[in-house]
Amino acid sequence: MTARRIIPCLDVKDGRVVKGVRFEGHVDMGDAAELAARYRDQGADELVFYDITASPEGRTLDYGWVRDIARLLDIPFCVAGGIRTVDQAAACLDNGADKVSINSPALERPELITEMAERLGSQCVVVGVDSRREDGDYVVHKYTGDPNARRLAGRRTMEWIVEAQERGAGEIVLNCIDQDGVRRGYDTAQLSDARSRLTIPLVASGGAGSPSHFLDVFDRANVSGALAASVFHSGQIALPDLKAYLAGAGVEVRT
């Protein structure tokens, strides 16, 4: 068995963690490596760093901050945002990241998943999917980081995640965007549906607002991990309290 993973997600801009609506009105929260160490000390099982600098501008990533984090952390971490080539993904690993998450670039060129899996191994290839319920089906959106660019990707969520798995993804992060930032709980129905179609690990994203939401998503959707951002950054949920609550409810967590 594995303990259910609790995964804080941090937005990084030029090596600094920022808070706020993505791409506008950023508030500087501090050095990425320092905040990473704080979450590690509080018991985070894994961290995701979403680079918001590179993606909208098509810029090459600066990997210096990845290296700084890797020097410090003794838990796994994933880098997301702006990675569109195998070389960029390899550079993230070379600088100490454990996993690389790709989203819109995989939709534009699904072969990228296969290429990364063949060269770097499936275990480090995470495919992020932004999904929303529309007309009774779940459909994929892309460029969700930028409100002006967001649009339908022309794919059904359940078909896309299975294709991503077949192409060599080692894990799926399913971000249910109806729930994103709303804090009414994870979309357990959609996640449960996704879980039943996959053989690789599934991580829930979008909607966490209270400890009971984490319990619900583990109990009802059987996901391997749950990702959240604002509830942790705001201090609304402290990781040790969350883990104590989950352990008390019979969920295996790493303490």
Partner: protein, 199 residues
């Protein structure tokens, strides 16, 4: 005296290097035959697939040096699997053969995603110097789709559907199926113990 991390190709050697440096080790990431032969201790990290790793080792002229390395050697993740005789990965691969047996693909079950990815508890720990200070119930971070056979060399187990050999030892060679460099305190303890093994 240095600890050499054997560089076989693209992959995550940086995190292993950083973890050893946090412990104060003098570390060199290298594919140079002389540096590897002369290192005080060797780390064989997991890179890619078994067949790929073995053919890279041969291309670099390292196979015999690694097979004959007389001081402490630690294989991590795929590196543990390479200690065994063969693997069914890549349609069948012949490996270093320190330990008899065949590495096999984890069966897919509805209730158990593959890869085995995440934190699992260690249990059934042997009395081995590399496990000094590590307790049953300590968590370690695993990522693997292939699993080593259970043999008398198993010195620590984890459970994932079935019992998984989490650590093995054969003479001066040790293996970790999990990633000690990403396994918080328990992982750091194991790496520290490795660095303190008599060379």
């Amino acid at each position: 005296m240095t600890t050499a991390i054997v560089l076989l190709g693209a992959g995550n050697t940086a995190s292993v290097q950083f973890a050893l440096e946090r412990l104060g080790a003098n570390v060199r990431v290298t594919s140079d035959a002389t540096q590897i032969a002369e290192a005080e201790r060797l780390i064989l990290p997991g890179v890619g697939a078994a067949g790929y790793a073995m053919s890279r080792m041969a291309e670099l002229g390292l196979t015999d040096i690694i097979k004959g390395f007389p001081r402490p050697l630690l294989g991590l993740c795929l590196g543990q699997q390479l200690l065994f005789a063969e693997s069914e990965e890549n349609g069948g691969a012949t490996m270093l053969g320190f330990i008899p047996g065949r590495v096999t693909r984890m069966p897919v079950r509805d209730d158990l995603p593959v890869p085995h990815m995440g934190w699992s508890k260690l249990h059934t720990l042997s009395d081995d110097p590399i496990l000094e200070g590590v307790k049953a119930g300590d968590y370690a971070y695993f990522v693997h789709s292939y699993v080593c056979p259970d043999t008398p060399t198993t010195i620590a187990c984890a459970d994932y559907g079935a019992s998984v050999p989490a650590m093995v030892r054969s003479g001066n060679r040790w293996g970790c199926q999990f990633h000690p460099e990403r396994s918080a305190e328990a992982g750091a303890r194991i790496l520290k113990n490795f660095l303190e093994l008599p060379a």
